[in-house]
Point group: C2
DNA sequence: TATTGACCTTAACTTAGCTTGAGGTTTTAA
DNA sequence: TTAAAACCTCAAGCTAAGTTAAGGTCAATA
C-alpha cells in the first residue's frame, strides 16, 4: 500500500499531499487556514490533517479568484456552506450562482469600457470631468473589489 | 486675470492645478513622475511645471488602469508616443488599439469562465488537474497582469 | 512685509495575497 | 536506528499602487 493510497483511504490528508493535489504551496494552505478559508485538525504530533473535501474548497477558491473575487468575499460566501455535513453538489451550485452574477456585471462593465475606449482616448473628451469612462453609471457597486487575478506558470 | 487663466495661457501648469483638473492627488503625480509615466520641468524655485498635454496623459493612464492594465505596461505603451512633438489624435488612437485588443482578450476569458463556472463548481470535475478552468488555453498571455482596478468614490 | 498656502524631499506606512527564512520537532524509510 | 524528508511557528519580506507624515522652502496676497 502506497502512502498516497493509505492517506486517501483513511481520508485524512497531510498538508503536503493537499498542496501537491491542489497545486498550491504549503505556505498558501497555512495562509488560507489563518484567514479562515479552510480548516484542519491536528494529529498527535501537531501536524495538520485535512478532510478530502478541502480539495474542492481550494479549487473553488481559485476559481473565484480568477473571477476577480477577493479572499474576503470568498470567505463570506464559503461561510454560507453547511458547517457539519460535507457540502453537496447543490450547496456548491448555490455558491456559483452568486459569483456568476458578479461575473456578469464585470463582463458588462468591461464591454461598456470596450465600446467607449476607442472614441474616448482618440477624441478630445477624455478630460476626466466629461468623459463617459468616468461616468458614475459605469461603476460597479461598492462591494466589488475589482481585482482579477489570472493564473500563470 | 485669474491665476487659472494665467496658468492656462502660459501653458505651464502647477502640480496643484494638474491634480485638481485630473482628479488625482499631488502625491500621485509625484509617484507617476517617479515611475516615468509623466514628465515635468522645474521653475526657479524647484517647483514642478507641466505642459497641458499631461492632463490627457493622466486621463489615458486612468482609463488604461480601469481596463486592468498595470502601470508598468502603461508606461511601456506610453513610451511609443513621440518624444518631441505633442502627440496627435492619431498617436493616441494607436494606443487605444493596443489596449482594445487586451480588453477583448480579457472579456473573452471572462466569458469562457462564465460559461464554465456553473458546470465546474457544481460538478465533480473541479479537481485542478482536469477542470477546464485550469486549462492552459484559457489563460491570457504572460504579459498580462490580470489586475482590473475599478474606480470608487 | 509677513503670513498663509502651495510646494519640496525622503521615508515610512497601507492592503492583498502570498513567500521566505530561521530555528526546532515529527514522521518516514533504508 | 538514524538520517532525511516533511512538518511546525513566528516574523519578516515582497509587489503594486499609492498615501501619509515630517521637516523645510517658495510664492501669492492682505
Amino acid at each position: 500500500m502506497t502512502v498516497q493510497q493509505k492517506k486517501l483511504t483513511e481520508a485524512n490528508l497531510t498538508v503536503g499531499y493537499v498542496a501537491k493535489r491542489s497545486g498550491v504551496k504549503v505556505s498558501t494552505l497555512h495562509f488560507y487556514e489563518n484567514k479562515g478559508l479552510i480548516r484542519s485538525w491536528r494529529n498527535n504530533g501537531n501536524q495538520r490533517r485535512y478532510k478530502p473535501d478541502v480539495l474542492r474548497r481550494i479549487a473553488v477558491i481559485k476559481a473565484a479568484q480568477a473571477m476577480g473575487i477577493t479572499l474576503e468575499e470568498i470567505k463570506q460566501t464559503l461561510a454560507t456552506l453547511p458547517d457539519e455535513r460535507t457540502p453537496t453538489k447543490k450547496d456548491w451550485s448555490a455558491l456559483s450562482k452568486q459569483w456568476q452574477t458578479q461575473l456578469d456585471e464585470r463582463i458588462a462593465y468591461m464591454q461598456r469600457l470596450r465600446e467607449r475606449v476607442d472614441g474616448c482616448i482618440g477624441c478630445g473628451c477624455l478630460s476626466m470631468s466629461k468623459c463617459p469612462i468616468y461616468n458614475k453609471d459605469d461603476h460597479l457597486g461598492e462591494t466589488q473589489s475589482g481585482a482579477i487575478l489570472l493564473e500563470r506558470d
